[in-house]
Subunit: 363 residues, 2 copies
């Protein structure tokens, strides 16, 4: 988690912009401006998905460029891209790559979780695709031919720095991902190992911000605890071997802003887990609520806002029929930047106010 924490310190801003493009939040003018180009390059049946995929990518790139010096991180939501089929996932990977080029820490909001070899496959989000055949392949495989991309390192190996970590191609471009804990340790430890070998991180869902999250997460256990506390304890165990120089492990926790009391308790229960906090703004969580989840130094939290930033243009009244592509992208970018700065100030103020006599019980 050290890279994230240092990026937060550098920007003085513990917030992350959620990149969740949808038809509702991407101005129609963006797809309209790209349509001729896309139409000429795909089959008619592919147009609805491909056009959205290209529009979502342009939209996200504009936002990334607009906020790159304001925030430490972005959080692309893979579901929005996956909704478009394979074409959308190309855009997702290109969005991650663009954010990285702009120096941002990229949290892939993928919420994956599975067992054994399947979890290891999902963990390739962090480890990438091996260039050489993985060691220990069972089954007495025949030797691969010279230069095979599967069986051996190709001849360009060592001549490019785009391949990282060594002997793997980072096909997704994320610095961290979110993980679902329902399958237990088998479903999580492959991600922990992957994070350790690649200097990356994960955030395990502990207490989500949605209304029905209580149905399962708040189930009262026989010992009186709610289930999410059991998950919190597991998060502590999973992260215990990877605590970095700032006191936080590679295994963070997703804790919604809408449960501030629980969040403040969870902060004490998981002292080494960095919190990714959804639910600010549109879902009702305030900066003051969230500040209660910070540690005594004001660290330990990264607050997400998606619609409040990427959809900030919608309140402006600037959208016009027949708007040129560049004007639409500029509109999105200006309002996103302004909203990201306002959010930064809101959270900074709330973190400062924590220590004041007027809010003595706030910590």
């Amino acid at each position: 988690m050290d890279r994230l924490i240092e990026a937060i310190e550098r920007t003085g801003n513990p917030s992350v912009v959620g990149l969740d493009p949808t038809d509702a939040v991407v101005p129609t003018a963006i797809a309209a401006g790209l349509e001729r180009e896309v139409r000429d390059s795909v089959e008619a049946e592919e147009l609805p998905a491909s056009l959205r995929a290209v529009a979502y990518l342009e939209f996200c790139r504009a936002i990334i460029d607009a906020v790159a010096d304001v925030v430490p991180a972005v959080k692309p939501q893979i579901a929005m891209f996956e909704a478009l089929g394979p074409a959308g996932l190309d855009s997702y990977a290109l969005t991650c790559a663009h954010a990285r080029e702009r120096g941002l820490y990229v949290i892939g909001d993928v919420k994956r979780g599975d067992i054994g070899s399947t979890a290891t496959a999902y963990a390739r989000h962090l480890t990438g695709v091996p260039v050489a055949d993985p060691a220990g392949t069972p089954g007495g495989h025949a030797a691969a031919p010279e230069g095979s991309g599967m069986g051996r390192a190709p001849s360009h190996e060592g001549s490019t720095d785009a391949v990282e970590p060594t002997h793997a191609v980072d096909v997704w471009g994320e610095d961290a991902i979110t993980v679902n804990p329902y399958l237990g340790s088998d479903g999580v430890t492959p991600f922990v190992r992957a994070a350790e070998t690649t200097d990356k991180d994960l955030f395990v869902l502990v207490r989500t911000s949605n209304p029905s999250s209580a149905e399962i997460q708040e189930c009262e256990l026989a010992d009186g605890r709610p289930l999410y506390e059991r998950v919190a304890d597991l998060v502590g165990e999973w992260g215990s071997g990877s605590i970095g120089r700032h006191g936080y492990s590679r295994v963070g926790a997703v804790v919604g802003a809408t449960q501030a009391d629980q969040g403040a308790l969870l902060r004490r229960r998981m002292p080494h887990a960095f919190f990714l906090v959804p639910g600010y703004g549109a879902q009702g969580g305030t900066a003051r609520d969230i500040a209660r989840m910070a540690d005594p130094r004001g660290s330990g939290i990264l607050v997400n806002s998606s619609r409040g930033i990427i959809g900030a243009w919608r309140g402006s009244g600037e959208e016009r029929p027949g708007m040129p592509l560049d004007a639409a992208l500029d509109m999105v970018a200006r309002h996103a930047r302004r909203a990201a700065i306002a959010m930064r100030e809101d959270i900074r103020t709330a973190l400062k106010d924590r220590g004041r006599p007027s809010a003595p019980g706030r910590r």
Copy 2:
């Protein structure tokens, strides 16, 4: 669930072949045989992912062709394809499409789960990508130009039957998907609605087959039940509005074969939930265990085997260095077919034996 149940009746076989390609299970000769072609069409850095993606697709197609008249369904595991980045997901979608062309019911093992608009985005696995702008788009959008793939139906609409359901393009090609319940109803009901509008289904993780599944799923609740029973009850609620002509709802349950006693109890607890049962064979679950999860008619279960079918070639000693591509595919196909038939007979026998006096307590 009616389409699946009728496919099971037609084939007399309640089993599904899990398509989980990995480097360990795909013969090296397949990638080697495809390498020249792939190398000429991609950048050097893309070779490791693209070569595997093409090899996995050829491997899965060979298996699908070999078992299409033996089993009612296949279950591609998206993680194995996602491990290769966007190129892998192209192969996943093409694998699903090929299985459907061969008349198979396709269960996408995606284990997705998220909230609100994000869950709705994942539910596009079932609903596809809308051709026209979704109704009710907020934000006072400017009108899209004529013929836009996002804003209006393109001119080819109505001239192709490849677009299904009406006004949407089915970009993934699945008939059902698996869903993770940790986020509660908000995370599941968008999939239920999607299944209802498209005549598709979902399987919610209730009790998985992995060793550590107990850590969370077996947590004892204050009322004495384990957590998975709470989830089972939710599955019953989520499915109550979509019970089909065979007595099963669109909301099935994943119940591992390795917990047969719990499975038999869950059958009674969820009388309208069809069970997708992993854990047969390689993970230790026997047909006899699984038969206990069937309903009195011997229905209600679909048993998955992955490695036992797709990796059956590995025990044959037929793999040779420098083996031609076609020979490798033929080897994979022959052994997969033989293993699928053996599994069918094993399960048929176990289901028949249930009613016999020698096993009176088996139901």
